[in-house]
Subunit: 396 residues, 4 copies
């Protein structure tokens, strides 16, 4: 059936790591994605959980997932307490935090302080002070702490990053990153949509709506691929749906370290859009364009010569991109595989020599520092939007 010779087959050798999940019970969305992603390559085994803040639901969800009864808990505190009682070779090594945002901090802090490795959904926490605290703990405890900016796990995003690093784009001049969704184009939070409910609630979602939920993905994608820092922004956040308490639409001008300029846009009221995340980077020697909804392709526009369509899995791609695939070119991979690449990178990090621990970006995942930068970005976006000052600086 399949003829490619470069079939990437993930190593199946290493021992499976034991994982617990907090949040992600029945009716949740992102928890299931994390489980699919973990399952794909078999680097983690989910053995314990506190899958909901409602004890009944937590227990029922654990049963449905086939977790052992004694490792299914009604609260994350119970989960933590029980795990700490287990011998090291039974205890989970990783906790996966997929609750609504407002719960991230206390869970992450508690597990990190106890020395568990952490995978936490984004945005990391509500405030940059919390983020700095988690950075400190992670550093002191020497743990792996990943934040699931999953889009940087796509092989063609990795290819883009490698092309930038290799100088194929020359000096970067212009970055346009945009993320349009339409699912909040009506007041879905009043129509029984659970996702909409918490994501538009400042108490649970934080100070930003669309900017926190998807704008932060755009920020992470742009900075990861270009390797540039955003130095200043000029933002305009807006709420289109009457009664909504957080922004649902935003645009901002960007100024990067090194002189590049650009634009970041995000909207959740972009009617008819599904998950339209796109990145374009224009450099002096060439430009690239990538679109999440067609993730297997990366367009490359060299300064001279015809434009090129690079496709995932091709032998002429950068090695880091080729390694991040499971299937030959033409056999598309997609969202779950990209998400799973994050988990592979995390597993590699956990199983690497602790003495040689490197920044997450070097392994292909966003670490707690990247997550903290994302929180500072959200804070700056909100502040800039409220300000009459044209350029708002970002702390690095």
């Amino acid at each position: 059936m399949i003829g490619a010779t470069s079939a990437g087959q993930p190593s199946t050798g290493p021992r499976r790591l034991r994982a617990a999940m907090v949040g992600g019970g029945q009716g949740a969305f992102i928890g299931a994605v994390h489980r699919h992603a973990m399952a794909l390559d078999g680097r983690f085994e989910l053995v314990a959980g506190a899958l909901s803040s409602q004890p009944d639901r937590a227990l029922e969800s654990g049963r449905a997932l086939g977790l052992a009864a004694h490792r299914t808990h009604g609260s994350w505190q119970a989960l933590l307490a029980h795990e700490l009682c287990l011998p090291a070779d039974e205890r989970v090594e990783l906790v996966v935090i997929v609750t609504p945002n407002h719960v991230h901090y206390e869970v992450a802090k508690a597990f990190a302080e106890s020395g568990f490795h952490v995978v936490c959904d984004k945005p990391l926490v509500h405030t940059s002070a919390q983020a700095a605290e988690l950075e400190r703990i992670a550093r002191e405890r020497g743990i792996v702490f990943a934040v699931t900016y999953n889009y940087i796990g796509y092989p063609m995003v990795i290819q883009a990053r490698e092309m930038v690093r290799a100088g194929q784009l020359g000096e970067i001049r212009r970055v346009v990153v945009e993320y349009h969704q339409g699912w909040l184009a009506t007041r879905a939070e009043s129509e029984g949509n659970k996702q909409a409910d918490w994501r538009t609630d400042p108490a649970r979602s934080g100070i930003a709506g669309a900017m926190g939920d998807i704008g932060s993905h755009a920020e992470n994608l742009a900075t990861t691929v270009t390797g540039l820092d955003i130095e200043a922004i000029s933002a305009d956040l807006h709420t289109f749906i009457p009664g909504r308490r957080l922004d649902d639409d935003a645009s901002m001008l960007l100024r990067f370290s090194g002189g590049a300029r650009g634009v970041l846009m995000c909207s959740q009221v972009a009617t008819g859009c599904e998950n339209d995340l796109r990145l374009r980077v224009y450099g002096s020697e060439g430009s690239i364009s990538w679109r999440q909804e067609s993730p297997n392709e990366l367009e490359f526009l060299p300064r001279e010569g015809p434009r090129q369509l690079l496709t995932r899995g091709s032998p002429w791609l950068a090695e880091a991109s080729r390694r991040a695939t499971r299937l030959p070119s033409g056999h598309p991979e997609a969202f779950i595989e990209a998400f799973a690449n994050i988990y592979v990178a995390v597993a590699d990090a956990i199983q690497a020599d602790p003495a040689q621990r490197v920044a997450g970006a070097e392994r292909g995942y966003a670490d707690v520092s990247d997550g903290a930068r994302g929180v500072r970005f959200i804070e700056a976006a909100v502040a800039s939007s409220r300000s009459e000052q044209k350029w708002w600086p970002l702390r690095q």
Copy 2:
């Protein structure tokens, strides 16, 4: 991160079924795909295997996959013998056959006769007589026997089939199905490409090359979506690469039951193509177009009104299509998910009331009869190509 409300979350309730794999050891390609597909939804657990025809490699591959040592065997005969000694509640329930084609028959026959459910890679076997024998055994033993024509597991292929069934295309007039690959555009079988080696060897691949390997996918895709039988063909198979022993390029005219006409093309010397499987169906009321390399989209051209781009996971799709997804629209799914859908359908079939067993197509997989039809199709293609007779009939 994700805002859709219709997140399809595969049921996690049912008991995991125990599976063994024959073939698919280190260096093989398709075995890894089957394992990824099984892993994704957790409906099967791989617990035993005879992963190579070379005992050493078989054992080493089993270790690498984490199989228990006593359930890793150096031959499929040893695997079968051992499983038959186990109590029913330990014994595997399914055998997955991912060897080169020439081994399919004896393995499938032996396991089927012993009452194991079977998933076998395509094409099913070398001859229609063998296929008929397997059909007979499967029927008599009442087993589930699936052939992994995986492309029909794509949600938008399911959507296409449902639209045909619902009459949205009206009377079907024209079917164009094509499958172009370029990986055999040079004599790869002489360049150390293991896949190319056996796929161009009549002893292992059967009487057809490209026609058997990918033309049979095209046949299955076209007939599954349209629900029509191919009644007669006029085929032209050709070998472009000097020294190659099987066809590497083919085209044929098609005549369907009910009067539709069409074309089937396949080539493995289509330089630069990756895995370019496409289907177009033209009906009196509308037409559809689908392309495997952009699998989340289905184009629909109604007789009146603008063309439509249907996207996977949208609420206005047919229920069978919506059920076959894990992620909301805009979060692309791809090859592995489609493959996994076949496994979900097989698991459902195995766990369904045996008294109510239905044709695989009703559940979303190709069964042994579909596989047998595929073998007859390959035989007819070869015969037609050699004949001066314009139209060659297909036995149904």
Copy 3:
């Protein structure tokens, strides 16, 4: 507004040639296209006409077009007679024949015998005997005789042809040409559609319907780009609409000189299709793909390296392609410009040294021999479809 440096500006130097038109009066379609195409570059001036077979309509159409009254005629015979009375420096130099097919022969013959240059719409005539006669006359009178296979006038088709000639595709193996339209998906000829009326009438359209109307374009496109002769075909022509008297859907297998194989398809009942002409050529070193509905792009798939998207007007294109454009890349040209390129090529041919007259293909238009080949192709398609003989030879 426009920044390209390579703006192709058609030479405006040469004297305008005087032209007459037969057919193309009010309500006709293709006549207007010819006039737009002639107008674009100013190489011809339309000064006389017999614009309809209905004298009243002919005269009224002439008035509407601003022709002088004494050069507007009620019949082509009157036009011819009058032109022959004029002094050479007033007489038209070219006759453009845009009547329904059945009138082509007598008009073309009469004007050609009188030494006028001819542009005739396709298909050239009803029978290969008629075509041979026109070939003979054109050769003997030394006239330029063009048949408006307009699609070969597209710059990216010219680019494709040049790439084949330059060996960039290597040995050509496979050719897939297809032309799908949907405008005859219902019985439009019974619904007052004048175009449908004559095109489905054997007396006016000839022995073939879709095959003559659009299949012949596909034949011309494939042979012009590849430079290969079609040696044998196996055709299946069909009529889907009850009561229709000519084929409305066809497919055929192709065998080319030099060993290439392929498929030609055409249909006018392909519901929802507009003017979906596509060509793919697969060679040992690379493949190309072109689609008329996106005519400014040509996809090139080299054997090694990423696929390329060549765009009209780019400096790295072949010189013949660059010459056939008026605008810089990114400023799209389309159908009329391609049609106008045919007229530019005809004007160049007329104004070239008669001693150095070359085949039309060398200048970028189809000449009477290409038109004759097209007629033989149509005859062979109909004969093959009626025959039980698998391969039907084409006379070259």
Copy 4:
């Protein structure tokens, strides 16, 4: 060849209007485009010109275009003087101004004051004071004064505008308009590129570079389609190429009357881009997306139901869009046809009852007021970029 029933055939009835051209001689680009556009539909006849500021070149260019010797002038002043001596029925009715920007004002003023209708390239003039003066003159003299914002002549842009007007998008929330070119990615003005030379020279181009040259197209496109005024902007103009004297890259945030927000981007250093003008408008009921490089398509994303691909010439389009085409759907039209639509609209305006003269936008062209708005926009963009004030208001 062509089967559509709705072949749009431009009326050929009205008398041709006499036109003169100022600028556009040999080596110029845009002049040739204007001539192609005028030629296409035969509504204007070019009979006089002052085709270059260099008298020799002007005369030679006139000869090459076939203008009568006595109507070919070495300066626009000579042209004007001569025309004023001619009797009304010989005198040109329209002057077309296609010089570099800095010449627009004096030529337009002189001809307008003498009562000639004017077509002037964009941006109209260097200052809003000049623009206001031209507005005043045009109003007082009752002339038609068009500014060739040619992109609004595309049929699918007209369709977009009609859909907004008809409420199919609901309340407009978000507008993203962008125009990326790459031809100034190097210092082309130092490499002998004549276009680059004057367009980067403040003396000839005005106070803005990319913003004036292409950003103004983006402004016009966005406001024409949406019917909304831009009330305030926050702009960031930048020059990437060392030594260049005008901006070559810009982005701005937009606030529209009625509350819509958005982004406008333009760059001429976007390496590899050709003429990548795109518009997206997101409304409460639906969104649209259009791209100049694929101008025959308009994507429509309704709030409920599948996305639609509207194609030029389809019977279900708005009447104004259908009228602006010459060919049936599937037979692509492009840049020149869109440009020609402007000329058709101008001819209609000139030949309409002067008592019923309406705004250009009602007829499909940008008039002097639209041109003046464009100049104020450019001034605001430059001022905003230099200011530390976040929001810069636009005078309407």
